[in-house]
Subunit: 559 residues, 2 copies
Amino acid sequence: MIPADGLKLIFCFGLNIFCWSGACVSFFFFFFCTAKMNTLGLVTLRVCAGLMGRRTLHVLPRLQRSSSGMTIPQIDEEVARLLQLKAQLDGDDGKQTFVLKTPKGTRDYNPKQMAIREKVFNTIFNCFKRHGAETIDTPVFELKETLTGKYGEDSKLIYDLKDQGGELLSLRYDLTVPFARYLAMNKITNIKRYHIAKVYRRDNPAMTRGRYREFYQCDFDIAGQYDPMIPDAECLKIVHEILSELELGDFRIKVNDRRILDGMFAVCGVPDEKFRTVCSTVDKLDKLPWEEVKNEMVKEKGLPEEVADQIGGYVSLQGGMDLVERLLEDPKLSKSSDAVAGLKDIKQLFVYLQLFRITDKVAFDLSLARGLDYYTGVIYEAILTQAGVPQTQDPQNGPGVEEASVSVGSIAGGGRYDGLVGMFDPKGRKVPCVGVSIGIERIFSIMEQKAETSAEKVRTTETQVMVASAQKNLLEERLKLTAELWDAGVKAEVMYKKNPKLLSQLQHCEDTGIPLVAILGEQELKDGVVKLRNVTTREELNIPRDSLIEEIKKRTADC
Amino acid sequence: MIPADGLKLIFCFGLNIFCWSGACVSFFFFFFCTAKMNTLGLVTLRVCAGLMGRRTLHVLPRLQRSSSGMTIPQIDEEVARLLQLKAQLDGDDGKQTFVLKTPKGTRDYNPKQMAIREKVFNTIFNCFKRHGAETIDTPVFELKETLTGKYGEDSKLIYDLKDQGGELLSLRYDLTVPFARYLAMNKITNIKRYHIAKVYRRDNPAMTRGRYREFYQCDFDIAGQYDPMIPDAECLKIVHEILSELELGDFRIKVNDRRILDGMFAVCGVPDEKFRTVCSTVDKLDKLPWEEVKNEMVKEKGLPEEVADQIGGYVSLQGGMDLVERLLEDPKLSKSSDAVAGLKDIKQLFVYLQLFRITDKVAFDLSLARGLDYYTGVIYEAILTQAGVPQTQDPQNGPGVEEASVSVGSIAGGGRYDGLVGMFDPKGRKVPCVGVSIGIERIFSIMEQKAETSAEKVRTTETQVMVASAQKNLLEERLKLTAELWDAGVKAEVMYKKNPKLLSQLQHCEDTGIPLVAILGEQELKDGVVKLRNVTTREELNIPRDSLIEEIKKRTADC
C-alpha cells in the first residue's frame, strides 16, 4: 500500500480564538508525516509537528460599549450569526418547538379592545380636527440613517430589519423623526398635523402597565415660524381637552424648558459636553428618588458631588408664574442667557394658558427633563395624579414633591424641537416645530380596566337586525331579505345554517346586543309581512314588507 | 541566525471553494521548509509541498432553488454578511451620502391623500359593519415561524427583522395568516371579522400602478363550521357592494375552486406533487398569454406537452351555471371526486348569488388559480374591466377570452382556506374559513387620479370658523374667543401671529376651504358682538357674542 517513494501525509487542525476587541487569532497545528517502507518491509514514520498563528483584524464587528456600560447592538449581531450557525448545525432551523404566541412585548387587540380603541381614537381625532389639524402617514420603516443620531442613548432600542439586499431599514421609533423627514423632503415650512400610528421600541415591556414594544403614538405637531409660545400653548390646550374628555381622572401638566435646564447645568458647573447625559439622568426623577439620581450623576456621569447638590436644589422647585418671576431674579441662574430666554418664554406661555383657562392643571417644574435629544425649548409632560389607575413605576419620590398625590406616570409629553428638520435639510434650513404625543396605550389600559369593572356591556358590532326564521327550509327567503336590507343600508345579520333553531338565533342577538329580529315564516310570506321583534322587550309586531326598512331605521335611529 | 539543529518553516495557503449546494471545500497548500546550515556554512533548504482538501458541509446556508429558478432569501443573507464586512472594511458604514427619501417601494401619504384614504376607508368600514363584522388587530410582526411554510414560492418576499437577540421576527405578509394564528391561539371557532392594516412584501414595486412594498390590506373573513357556500356567498356580496359604492367603473368577479383545479390536473395527468407548482403557473394567465404559460409548464415544470394542452383546453372555459352543469357531465372531469365536489359547491354558490342578485358580475372561470398555497376550496378574484383606470400589467391575453373588455388587474380576491387554522393548532383542530381581501391600494390610486382630474377641491381639514382680526393688539382676544369655541365643540383656527393681516387670514380660509370667519375689532368687543363673515359670499353680519356658537353650528350643520 505504501508506494516506493514513501507516503506523505499532512494533518492540519485549526483553532480560532475570537478576542473581545473583535480580532481573531487563528492557530494551525500541522502534522507532517512521512511513511517509508524500507527494503526489509519495515515502515519508518517521521512526524513533524508545526504551529502557525495568524491574527485577523475585525473578523467580528468591533464591540463598542456605550457610556452607560451597555454594548451596542453589534453584540446581538454576532449572537445572531452564532445562533444561525447553531441552527444550521442542528439541521433544520426553527422546527424544534413551535410556540403559538405574539412576539414579546406585543399583543393582539380582540374585538372588545378594538371597540374601546375606536372610541378613544374618535375622541382624540375629534379634538385634533377641532383644532384644524391635517393628518399624514409615513411608512412603518425608514432608512436606518434617517433614525441615526436622533435618540441619544435610546438608539439601542431601535428595531433593525435584516439586510436582505438593498437599503438598510429600521422600524420607526417615534412619529416625530419621520415627520421631520417628511417636512424636509417635501420642503414644507408650515403645517399643523396629527398622526396616529404604531411605533417600535425594543424596550423591556411591562404589558400589565400598558407598556409594549409595539405601541400606538398619537402625535399633534405645529411646524412653522410663528410668534413665540402661541402654538406651544395650543399643544397644552389639546392635552387638557383630551385628558378632560376621556375622564381618566385628575391630571397635571408639568412644564419646563431645555434652555432653563442647560442654563442651570452651566451655572452649577456641569461641563458643556455632559449637558445631554446629565439631562437624561435628571429625566429619571419621575421614577427614582433623588438619592439614586444623584448617585448616577456622581458615580456614572462623573459630576463632583457639590455640583450634583446644586442641581438638586434647583430640580426640587415647582410652581407657577410666581416661580418664574423668582428665578428671573435668581442671582446665579439669571447669569445664564439661555436660562433667562427660557424663563421669559415660560412666562409668556403662562399668559396664553391663562387665556385658555387651563393654568389650574399646569405647573412649572424644574425636574422635568424629557429623555430625547432633539428638544430645544419648552418641554412638557402630563401625569395622572389619581389613585386607582394602573401605576407605571415606583411612586415619584423626588425632593420637594410636597403634595400627597401619587404620580402614576406620564400620559402625554412633548416639547419644542427647532433643530430636527434642519438635520434633514441638505442646506440645514430650520423649520421650528412644537408638538405633543398622547400616551394612548396607557389610556387604552385604563379604559379597558374601566370597561372590565363597569356593568355596561361593550358592543363589538353595530348590527341593527337579525333576519331569522322559526321554520325549516326558509334559508333562501332569509338570504333574500337580508340582501334587501344590506342594499338599503341596514346593518343586518343572518345565520349561516339551513335550518337554525329560533332560540339560537335569539340567543345570538342577546349575546351581541342586536336590538331587533325580523322573523320570517310561511304565514308571514303569504301575508307579505315580517314579524319584527324587540329583543329586550320581546314585543312582536307584523310589519308590511314594504315598510320594514323604514321601520327598522326608525327604531334604531339612536343606536 | 540558523540554529544548529536547523530551522523549520511552514507556510500554509488556504483556498476555500464554496459550492452551489452550500458545501465548502477547503484546500490547504503547505510548504514545509527545513533550513540547515552545514559545517561549511552552506545552507541546505529542503522544501516539501503538500495539499489537503477538506469538504465542510453547510458552512454557507444551503442555497435552495425554487422551481422558478430563483434562490431563496438565504442568498440575500450571505450578501448581507458580505456587505457588512465591506462596510466594516470601509470604516464607518452609512455616512457616505445621506439620501432624503422613504424606503424603496413605500410612500408617505400627504394630507390630501389621507382625506381620500379616509373616505375610502369609511365606505369599506360601513360595508363591513353593515354585515355585522367585528374587527381585530394584530402586531405588525410575527414570530418568523408563524409565517414559515404558508406562502409557497412567495415566501422569498417576506421581510425579516434583524436578530438583535431574542425571538426571530418577520413583518406580516398578509392579514390571513395572523388571523389564523389569532384564532388558534385564542381557540376561537366562530367569528366574522374585518381587519384593515398594512402588510409587507419585498416585491418589485410598481408604484405608479399602485403596487408598493408597504401596502394596506383590507380583509373580511368568516370562520366557523356552517352550511356550505353561505358565508362564501356573503364574501362575494361584500365585494360587489364595495366596488359598486366606490364607483370605480365596471368590474367582474371570477370564481373557481381549488378542488376543480386539482381534479382537472389529475385527469389531465399532472403528477400529484406538481399540483401546487402548476397551479402557480396557471395563476399567471391573467398576466401572460397562454403560449408563455404553456411554455413554463413544459420547460420549467416538466409537464409533457400533451398534458399542458389538455390543461389549456380546460382553463380557456368560462361561463355561469350552464358551464357548471356542462362540466358535471364532462366524461373526463366527472371521474375526479375532487372536481365534482368543487363543481357542486360552485353550483350551490350560484344559487345564493342569484338570491343576492349579483350574478350579472360573476363568472365561473377555470383559469383562475390564485397563487397562495393555503386555499382549499372556492376562490375568487374581482377585476376592473373599464378602460381609463391605471393598468397593472399587460392586457389579459389568455385563450378563449372572447369579449373585448380589457382586464386592468385584480382589485379584490380571496377564497376558502379550511386548513390554515389547523396548521397552528397543537392538536390540528380545523376551523373552516373563507375570506376576501380588498385591493385598497389600487382603489386609492384610482381615487387619487379621479381627484386630480376633478374640479372639486379635496378639503384636508374640517375647520368651521377662523377667528380673525383686522386690528393690532388683539391676539389675546382672539385666543380667548378661539378657546371658547373649542370648548363648545366648534372646529376653529386662529393665526399664530400677534398682528396678522386680515387679507392673509382670509386667504388662508380660501386656500383651505374654511367657510366662516369670526372677526374681532375694538368696536365689536365694545358692543359685545362678533362680525361673522361668509367666506364664499363675503356677507358680514354682527352676531351677539352669546349666540355666536349657536349661529356657527347652524350655518355649518351640513359641512
